[in-house]
């Protein structure tokens, strides 16, 4: 067995669960986490006492021991946390999958619970009067929020490649169209057209309101086990075919302007290793869930993961390639822009639905799905596929 076969297709996502999504939900983050995990275990048909591995974000506020003692888990044998917020969910899943593939654990749960509808929960709003980390080089100048950090790159991208706001708008509009058919999406009842986009207020010019993810509350959980056990579960398993994390040389969190080429992000490091470990190449991918806290991240990711060439992603989006029936349907639940913002965990549940054939925007005969995390942080990616 070569080292590249050690993980390939040996584990599967067998359960997905979520709470209602909303703003200012009544339940606490712990209650939401417990409900989402209970739903995911029911979906899998696995007893809580069988769970022996956990994976979560370092930013998760519900600790492993509270999760384990509330849900009645058995003895735990593996628990890990992954840093970098929006860059974390694929890493959390991949690390638990490795523990299962190596035989250290049998059943794993990964979760994200978050109440962010309250503006005071936004991380940038918690900045201290004196900054001791790398943000001291940007925040005193007024470059104070993640959206500002991404907007800096988007304006340069528009300058370099002649990309237009109309092309960028295609990301938000395409995802809104998907959300309108997703009964769980927060924006299911909100129609949006190009005029609405172009007239929306600016948040960090050139990015407007609709280039930003939703501020929302909710929880999502995912259950993994070994592929040979997955046959006993309730639904078609989504095999974890390939996984990698990535951090580019000299990465500096979201103000990653200091490398040789600011557009070669950590996604490029993830991509090179991910495709090396995969039997599939970018043209083989049937549907993709691409991290979208801000719409430019979808364009930058399409290029860094090799779904199109350098400078081509805006035109690709503008041509309708990401929409229903397009060359590469992207964020088919509505994503973080129009379904819910839970640090990308909803991109994973939608990928699993595509593999099962149960997405509200099902891509016909989807045999595989690509999932990425935040292009502008250290990150990770997964390829799921049918058995």
């Amino acid at each position: 067995m070569s080292d590249r076969a050690a993980l390939k297709d040996r584990t599967a996502i067998v359960g997905i669960g979520q709470t209602e999504f909303g703003k200012n939900l009544e339940h606490t983050e712990l209650q939401l986490a417990c409900m989402a995990i209970r739903n995911a275990l029911d979906d899998a048909g696995i007893d809580a006492s069988d769970v022996d591995a956990l994976g979560c974000f370092t930013q998760e506020t519900t600790p492993e021991f509270e999760i384990a003692r509330n849900l009645g888990f058995g003895e735990l044998h593996f628990f890990s946390q992954v840093a970098h917020g929006g860059g974390a969910v694929c890493g959390a899943i991949g690390q638990v999958a490795m523990a299962i593939a190596l035989g250290i654990a049998k059943v794993g749960v990964v979760w994200r619970s978050r109440k962010r509808g309250d503006p005071s929960k936004r991380q940038w709003a918690g900045v201290q009067p004196r900054i001791d980390d790398h943000w001291k080089w940007s925040r005193p100048h007024g470059l104070s929020r993640p959206v500002d950090e991404v907007a800096m790159l988007m304006r340069r991208y528009m300058h370099d490649h002649g990309a237009t706001r109309e092309q960028l708008a295609a990301v938000a509009l395409t995802q809104r169209a998907y959300a309108r058919r997703n009964p769980d999406a927060l924006m299911r009842d909100r129609e949006m057209g190009l005029e609405d986009y172009l007239e929306a207020r600016m948040i960090s010019d050139p990015l407007c309101l609709f280039d930003n993810c939703l501020e929302s509350d909710g929880a999502i959980a995912i259950v993994l086990t070994a592929t040979d056990r997955a046959a006993d579960c309730r639904h078609r398993p989504a095999l974890i075919h390939a996984f990698s994390q990535g951090m580019s040389r000299e990465h500096q969190l979201m103000t990653d302007y200091h490398g040789a080429d600011p557009f070669v992000s950590s996604s490029s490091a993830t991509a090179r290793n991910l495709w090396r470990h995969s039997d599939l190449a970018p043209p083989d991918i049937d549907v993709a869930q691409i991290y979208d806290a801000f719409s430019p991240l979808v364009l930058f990711s399409l290029e860094n993961y090799g779904f199109c060439g350098r400078g081509e992603a805006a035109a690709m989006a503008g041509s309708g390639a990401l929409g229903e029936g397009g060359q590469l349907p992207v964020n088919t639940s509505g994503g973080s822009l129009s379904e819910v913002y839970l640090h990308g965990a909803n991109l994973v549940t939608e990928a699993v639905r595509q593999i099962r054939g149960t997405s509200p925007n099902q891509v016909s005969d989807a045999r595989n799905c690509f999932i990425s995390t935040c292009d502008s942080t250290p990150n990770g990616a997964l390829i799921l596929r049918r058995q």
């Binding site: 900045v127 004196r130 790398h134 800096m152 010019d205 000299e250």
Partner: protein
């Protein structure tokens, strides 16, 4: 939320000299004494040769605008009344691999928010200035160089 502009801690051993330079009206980049590698922001170690003997080189007080953003609310209380304001990413002349975040201002006295976004374009020439934010913090900011004709703006690569 804090009411004041967030300020850098200026006594970290890795970048104390940078802030001291700003206080004296000089913009410094870190330069490795062993191999000459230059870097910004400053670090504890030179990633090219692993030396911790890091010196400083003064930048020319001019540069070009690589990109910029114009933030609008919601913002920290100290920034909200200044919006829409311009923050740029500047390449100091003679240091092609170095990019620095800097507020774009009409003058040191007028500070953040004193330049109209419509007057700014990528490739514009910029002059260095320092905006005093606290007794121990002089922030390196940039003033559009009015002497530079639009035709001198950087061409698209």
């Amino acid at each position: 939320m804090i009411e004041s502009i967030p300020l850098p801690i200026v006594d970290d051993p890795a970048d104390r000299a940078f802030w001291q330079g700003c206080d004296e009206g000089r913009l410094l980049v870190q330069a490795c004494k062993q191999c000459g590698h230059r870097q910004h922001p400053p670090r504890a170690m030179c990633p090219a040769c692993r030396s911790m003997e890091l010196g400083w080189q003064e930048c020319a007080p001019t540069g070009r605008l690589w990109s910029y953003v114009v933030p609008h609310p919601p913002l920290l209380p100290a920034f909200a009344p200044l919006a829409p304001y311009v923050v740029g990413l500047i390449i100091p002349d003679g240091l092609p691999g170095i990019r620095m975040v800097g507020a774009i201002v009409a003058s040191a006295e007028e500070g953040i928010g004193s330049v109209a976004p419509a007057e700014i374009a990528i490739g514009d020439r910029m002059r260095l200035t320092f905006v005093r934010l606290a007794e121990d913090v002089a922030l390196p900011c940039w003033v559009p160089d009015a002497a530079c004709a639009p035709s001198e703006r950087e061409e698209k690569p």
